[in-house]
Symmetry: C2
Subunit: 341 residues, 2 copies
Amino acid sequence: MADGASDHTQSRVTIRTVATDAGVSVAAVSKVMRNAYGVSDALRQKVEASIEKLGYRPSVAARGMRGRTFTLGVLLVGIDNPFLPGIYQGIESVTEAAGYKIMVCVGAARAQTEAQLIEQMIDNRMDGLILVASQIAGDTLEHYARQIPIVVVGHHETSAVGYDTINNDDQRGAARVVQAFVDQGYRDIAFLTQFEPDDHPADVSPQRELGYLDAMRAAGLADHIRILRLPQSNAPREQDFHQLLTSPDRPRAVFCWSDLDAIPLLGAAFRLGIRVPQDLAIVGYDNSPVAALPMVALSSVDQDGPHLGRLSAEALFSRMNGRKVAEHIQIEPRLIKRGSL
Amino acid sequence: MADGASDHTQSRVTIRTVATDAGVSVAAVSKVMRNAYGVSDALRQKVEASIEKLGYRPSVAARGMRGRTFTLGVLLVGIDNPFLPGIYQGIESVTEAAGYKIMVCVGAARAQTEAQLIEQMIDNRMDGLILVASQIAGDTLEHYARQIPIVVVGHHETSAVGYDTINNDDQRGAARVVQAFVDQGYRDIAFLTQFEPDDHPADVSPQRELGYLDAMRAAGLADHIRILRLPQSNAPREQDFHQLLTSPDRPRAVFCWSDLDAIPLLGAAFRLGIRVPQDLAIVGYDNSPVAALPMVALSSVDQDGPHLGRLSAEALFSRMNGRKVAEHIQIEPRLIKRGSL
DNA sequence: TGATTTACGTAGAACGGTGCACGAAACGGG
DNA sequence: CCCGTTTCGTGCACCGTTCTACGTAAATCA
């Protein structure tokens, strides 16, 4: 445990330093910084000159104690999820234009860790929070939402009252996949997931499962419904896939809840010499960059991450500006067809 | 631009609330929190009971004004670089054990943006900084290092005095690749990069270039030295690759500065029907997860990101504990051979 | 037992900002 | 020319912690 402190005593330039240098009061400098009402041009220029000269930057921490930090917190599920960069980029484009900064916390897809990270961001006095694919339960979120404006992306809490949700329509996306399979003449279509729908019904995977079930029934394929539920894990699951693919009743087509599993599955098939799509058709979800590689050529549902990101940042701003009634937006997913289907 | 503030006036539980509730002074509560000297068991228990009851969490921002925040800042080049998750995980493993939190800023591989982000983290009163693959010039870093303890990963500033650097030995890694090519009988070995060595000689790519040059000369292949320098860009570069691969003097073997370019190059080759490795051998750097997919099977140099991460966090802690003399650590890279070579 | 430590708890001044309340000019209308 | 408005700048009380300095009571020693 680290305990001592080094002497990085570069005696920081504070608002007082600037005030002294410019020969005005501290309050005057503060006013200039916040461009508040009641500042003459002469004053403004004096102060700005001193700020420039001294290289003054206000302390976000200190500012946060009374005012706002102009910083938004973004909680990401993990750092290696291909679905995140697009969303992040969308968020950033909006926040940057608004002059807000972003601080990121990286979760571990465990609800308790994520709650800690949310608290950390609150304790760091962020002005608002965007939670991406968080697994936290709805009532916990309502609790935090009373303390800070929150927008959730990738989590379907449509009855949430204290915060907004932004999603692609996962049920519709799943339906699109089933439809595409059916159009190609497939009937034996399985759904692969690693989540129990009862645990976190608001998560994306159960939503996709629901969409799959409905679409299969609507297509008259209720008898062919088949859910392959892997044990939940972050570890590579080559064994599971190997077993699945070599089993005598291997499905003809598999819809994977995410590219995260679809791509390794494709890899396992490749290794076993199973031809895709002749012997096995696969479709994933999230349209990660890897899916687009020609040697992968995985069909996948695109969520338009940047759009989701932009919408969530905009929703957060409007909420920070006083909107009280919750918004629940869903955008249209799009199936990108490649060689695997 | 957002300007109003909502009424998230959940009147936060502060140290004063706790003090009143427990019937002690504010200072006493503070002492318990920091488990400082001079607290009786009775006092501690009273206070802890109140903390528990009220769900008190200290404000990091306020704490940062006088003491330490127990939070480290991590600056990442971008969010979609496959080389980052491993490093991040390594950092996290040691910071978590030490009871420190992490806040992340995501750069854009532009020096100016990154400088702003560093300032942002300083302004947010982080206790120390880990910069991953930052492109900031050495003297700028020295400047910031006077204000806050800094460790740099993935940037070879071996003469740095005010901060530490942790790297894999990129020159050696490159040499390993050349050696492996030579061992297989290749002579026409090109190096593919998108960076000018003069711009940022401390970056990893110029280091790998240097290692390539030395190794080629050492192997008596000075005449076969060939640097393919793409225009620097984040955009997909299918055209560049297409042109390179269809050119009459296409090299027999290509060592890519990073999997970031090696994988798309492999994709372009696949699309053109160029057999790998029969017609074209490719080796990358960073050993990203995608490289391990059987249909990709890209040979690549592994840096052991988690190890780099752990070392950097440890270096940061030791620096925060008062070490003044800079440390410059290099670990051994390892070539992972797969089908592409 | 009296003198000295030692242990414990508290007051209060920082830290670096914000923003309200106030006063002093400058302005303008009758 | 007087008085009510604006306009501009300042003083100061916060915000939620840390931490030094200090007072008091208990424990230790001679």
